[in-house]
């Protein structure tokens, strides 16, 4: 083979390889992404019925309840306009708490409860996941729960 032909073969193989890899990667991606929905969107049924998605907002005060088995917890997540009940079995991240921002990943059950497989932990108490911050901004309502404003202003103050 001449050098020129050899190069053509190389380029051809590369193009085929990259194309195949990209196709595989993209199709695999489709089944591994989790969309984010705010509680308002969930109540408006904008979320997928059976697929995994993420929901986020603030944990409503006094809603964190531990179930009989000692490992399952229930809490409500709100964007100050709508509220979704969440159930999670397992150990919660250290910085999880009422009045704090949270993102949960899982599926919604027929009973309207969101069954989380994963609850996002953050490394810093003054950090707010961007999706949650957006959600709260979008759903800005006048009658904000007292505790929520308090925790928000704390978060913002600490971020400075």
């Amino acid at each position: 083979m001449k050098a020129r032909q050899k190069r053509l073969v190389f380029v051809g193989l590369a193009v085929v390889g990259v194309g195949a890899a990209a196709t595989l990667a993209l199709s695999a991606l489709q089944s591994n992404i989790a969309y984010f929905f705010s509680p308002t969107q969930v109540l408006a049924n904008e979320h997928p019925g059976d697929a995994v998605f993420r929901v986020g907002g603030l944990v409503v005060d006094d809603t964190l309840k531990r179930q009989q088995d000692g490992l399952t917890v229930r809490f409500d997540v709100t964007d100050n306009a709508a509220t979704v009940p969440v159930s999670y079995t397992g150990i919660l991240p250290d910085l999880f708490g009422e009045g704090q921002g949270v993102v949960a990943k899982g599926r919604i059950g027929n009973d309207g409860v969101f069954y989380a497989e994963e609850v996002l932990a953050k490394h810093d108490e003054s950090y707010m996941p961007p999706e949650v911050a957006d959600t709260l901004q979008t759903a800005h309502v006048d009658g904000v729960i007292d505790a929520t404003t308090r925790s928000l202003s704390q978060t913002e103050g600490a971020g400075r």
Partner: protein, 663 residues
Amino acid sequence: MIPELGHVALILALVIAVIQATFPLVGSLAGGSGNRNWMNMARPLAYGQFTLLLIAFACLTQAFLTSDFSVLYVASHSNTLLPTLYKVSAVWGGHEGSLLLWVLFMAAWGAAVAAFSRNLPLAVVSRVIAVQGMIAIGFLLFMLLTSNPFERLFPVPVEGRDLNPLLQDFGLAIHPPMLYMGYVGFSVAFAFAIAALIGGKLDAAWARWSRPWTTVAWVFLTIGIALGSWWAYYELGWGGWWFWDPVENASLMPWLVGTALIHSLAVTEKRGAFKSWTVLLAISAFSLSLLGTFLVRSGVLTSVHAFATDPERGLFILIFLCVVIGGSLALYAWRAPEVSEGGRFDLLSRESALLANNLLFVAFTVLVLFGTLAPLIYEAFNWGKISVGFPWFNQMFLALSPFLALLLGFGPAMRWKHDEPMRILRMLWLAFALSVVVLAVLALPMFGARTLWVPVGIALAAWLLFSHVAIVRERLKNKRGLAAWVADMRGSGRSFYGMVTAHVGVALFVVGVTMVSNFQMEEDVRMSPGDSYEMAGYRFQFLGAEKAPGPNYQADRGHFRVFRGDRQITELFPEKRAYLGGGMPMTEAAIDPGLFRDVYVSLGEPVGGGDWALRLYYKPFVRWIWLGSIFMALGGLLAVTDPRYRTGRVRARAPAHAAAARA
């Protein structure tokens, strides 16, 4: 007073950086053989830059040691109760201080280049130091304009806010410095590449100069990433060693490209080929380091690592990123077409193998980059807010890494330029056959491998090991006895044995990943004092938890006995801490480490009546993951000590074929 001194030192460092970026460069481009006086400024400027930043860093450290809360940064990241070690590590525990550490390291690399480059032509040294000056300008401006660590706070608080408890840990005290040494180290490779593009002379000599620097940077990055992984494993209490988190990916991408780069530099040095490609990799490695900084600092991505961020900072880094990438690519586009073509090679040659290595590593990088940025892409197109699950990353890596491992056994066996299939077959058939036997035996049902991945993974690791043994034997074929081997080690053999060590590290890493991914066990349980729980042949007995005060925290300390059969193998004391500064809770896992397995307990929450929600783990071979990384780093260090990087002035010549054939 001292913080102001530090601030002034930073401003002076910026001034020096401006001089450093201009005079030596202009001097090196002046007519004839350049303006020697201007070029001679380069070295003293690099030393001056380093000294000033060292002063600034010392000032900030002093402010932390004396708990000077009139400095905003100290007040928000330290506390009088903080142990002294963590007062020092708190210096880089936040954004401003970690930037200072970053520029300090960059100046240190610059000073090192100035000091250890006596053999290099003055023009090259001047250009390299000038390019480093340009990068320093960017970072110093960034610090002084948006994130000054010496900013004062008034009124002065009585007590500081405390360091994030997650960072109060030995592993994390040394993880950022290592990682930054790696990130910033690629700025040297970048500077060498840009200097070569400016000079228009991309040759084997250039590759030989920049190779040891790149390898050292890669070693630091390897150690830094491994430390981060180890830290996440024991400190976050989730028992995982890699989460495909955007911030982790940000450090992995420069490493992947850096790995491609050190291999491609080998071709450029030995055979004078792949020149443009190598330059492009050097530019990419550093650009990805910058991109990593942008992702970490701007908070555009949801990450468990994300710290409180500031959009203004993100914007600055984004602009800086555009200038660096845009500028260097423009220079590349202008100069690269003039680069002569390198030596030709056949399909079956070491060049081909290294080309395939490069393609695979670049493919890895593109996948990680795409997966990391996909949420941003989706959001930009209004397709919704997504997160990419880590199974995707795992699938992508599983799809490619077997090819890489297979190739890795063949590559080093091949000769440069041209090789005979029969020769390779003779050398490696036994290694290959043995690996196939391993595969077949492990696939037998009695070993209980639920997926084919276990035998495949272990067989690939065996293949790496066996083939490298064969390759070492081939090298020692004509050398008899230990004395010959010692002579080889003292002479030109070091880079060869460095390579072998690093590749064996890959084998260890593969074993670790395969075993821990397929055989680990994890249970969330509720236990009362006195309860026992059986898992993976271990019996965990919970004796209860009690209060245990620490220097700056209150802890609940659990007490566990772990039995194997009837024999007690260890006692574990996991803690749940509440830090006094911010009231932030922290899980401190307790681990019984072992070469073949870790047993790991972390406390969840008290659930009333002395009961606790707990997490128990069994992690087989998890240490091999970090052991493999240590081998890779050691291999890199061994390669750098090869005498050929220290021999007198290297003439800019076409690579000697003798040297090529020998290696």
